[in-house]
Amino acid sequence: MVMLEVKDFGKRFTSHHLNTTRKAVEGISFSLEQGGFIGIVGKSGSGKSTILKSIYRTYLPDEGEIWFDSERFGRIDLLKAEERQVIWLRKHEIGYVSQFLNVMPRTTARELVEQALLGMGESHEAATIKAEQSLRHFDLDERLWDTFPNTFSGGEKLRLNIAIATVKKPRLLLLDEPTASLDYQSKLKVREVIEKLKADGTTLVGIFHDLEFMEGLCDCVYDMNEKALRGMPEVQR
């Protein structure tokens, strides 16, 4: 079953101040089966993040179609979905993780995960239990659960980010360079986390700097330069 189908997608940005309109990306098409994992590669500025942010509707896409197989709404074009539908999908079906932790200040790691669950209508009791399970699942040190994440290391922030984005068991998870700025050990941890998500059947679209990191994880790669999908290349050693 196709979970995500991007058809002739394009996005331009208009700056009124500079009086310019620039195409960030155009002619992007690919599709992704349920449980699959596509990695997007391309040089800096080629529009990789623009694609993910448009799927999540942080950017308002202006060309093409992005079909998502929603449990709630059926097949839905994310470009045309109503705002309230997008909010619902973000709470229940689509997660977004970047290297940045963009959360409420003065809220503990545990509370942040619980809030994601409360936001989708879970009871306080269920939220408490599931939040702990998730923090444990992603190996966040128990001593950190009741502290504020602004003091966390990059890897800890990232695992918390992933915990927040995945407790709701999203059908689709978008990963925008989650490993950027992490050391090798932390990257390995993230790899393990992604393996767990794949094993859970989550459909993933990810951007990673280093192809090596994706080896054996991605089913295929979308190359921004060729504007085409290809199999995973052999990594040179």
């Binding site: 950017y59 308002l60 109503e82 309230r84 003065r106 809030q115």
Partner: protein
């Protein structure tokens, strides 16, 4: 594709509020000749022009815009402090169904205020009686909402002051002795004292120092999560809106010039004014 069967709790269509009579010049369609929201020929101010919005159950709708863009006027019209020039307001409530609530009697408006609304004013002087104790300020609203049992009202009032972190030993004190942040928190407690399904918050964090601001924002989030109250939050501070609102409207010269998901407004603003507003922050 399935539609969403969700219905807005509060719906505003084409709300217009002008201060002044208007003249031949400024009554033309599109109101040519205005300077910002002001008619130089007759001095009329068009504080809100054709504002439409929906607030859904349990959501926080953000409104941003520069000083004078009409945000407070909009809130005061919705709260019936000001009569609108034209427009409709409907609330999805069996008691209020199908009526334009801008047109109902003042008695009925008072009923809606007392039973369906909470309001936190930009200026605490408007929302509180500075020479009544905090607990009496709350009692006043409880009584207006039909409260009769003194003991119950007192304990509910104490609980609310506790929720907003006003120490109980200060509840008999008059808010004029309080800091700005404490006054805002008493206003919030008062606004919640009739269990309103709809809450209006006008610049609740403006003028507070940062740590107090954060505490008030936490409190609002907590109220939304635990009580499921729908809110309109007005602020000229995009950081506040970013933390609180799922969806945001941008106002300029009394008009809504852009609306969208809050992160989209902030990261992919489309209107020239919104771009200026967002980029001036970065």
């Amino acid at each position: 594709m399935q539609r969403f069967e969700e219905r807005p709790l509060l719906k505003v269509e084409n709300l217009t509020k002008q201060y002044g009579p208007g003249c031949g010049e400024c009554s033309q369609p599109g109101r040519p000749g205005l300077i910002k929201n002001y008619c130089p020929s007759c001095g009329t101010v068009y504080a809100c022009s054709d504002v439409s919005l929906d607030v859904y159950p349990g959501e926080i709708l953000g409104i941003v815009g520069e000083s004078g863009s009409g945000k407070s006027t909009l809130m005061q019209c919705l709260y019936f402090d000001q009569d609108v020039t034209s427009g409709t307001l409907t609330i999805d409530d069996p008691e209020l169904a199908g009526e334009n609530l801008f047109d109902v009697s003042s008695q009925r408006k008072r009923y809606i205020r007392n039973h369906k609304y909470g309001m936190v004013y930009q200026n605490p002087v408007k929302g509180l009686r500075m020479d009544f104790s905090s607990i009496s300020n709350i009692a006043e609203k409880q009584i207006a909402a039909g409260g009769r049992h003194v003991g119950q009202m007192q304990s509910a009032g104490e609980r609310l002051l506790d929720v907003v972190s006003i120490p109980l030993f200060r509840m008999k004190e008059e808010p004029r002795n309080f800091s700005g942040g404490m006054q805002q928190r008493v206003q919030i407690a008062k606004a919640l004292s009739n269990d309103p399904p709809i809450l209006f918050l006008d610049e609740v964090t403006t003028g507070l120092d940062l740590s107090v601001q954060a505490a008030v924002i936490d409190l609002i989030k907590q109220i939304q999560r635990d009580l499921g109250i729908s809110m309109i939050v007005v602020s000229h501070d995009l950081a506040v809106i970013r933390m609180l609102a799922d969806r945001t409207l941008v106002m300029l010269n009394g008009r809504v010039i852009e609306s969208g998901l809050t992160d989209q407004i902030l990261e992919d603003p489309n209107h020239a004014y919104t771009q200026q507003l967002v980029y001036s922050l970065l």
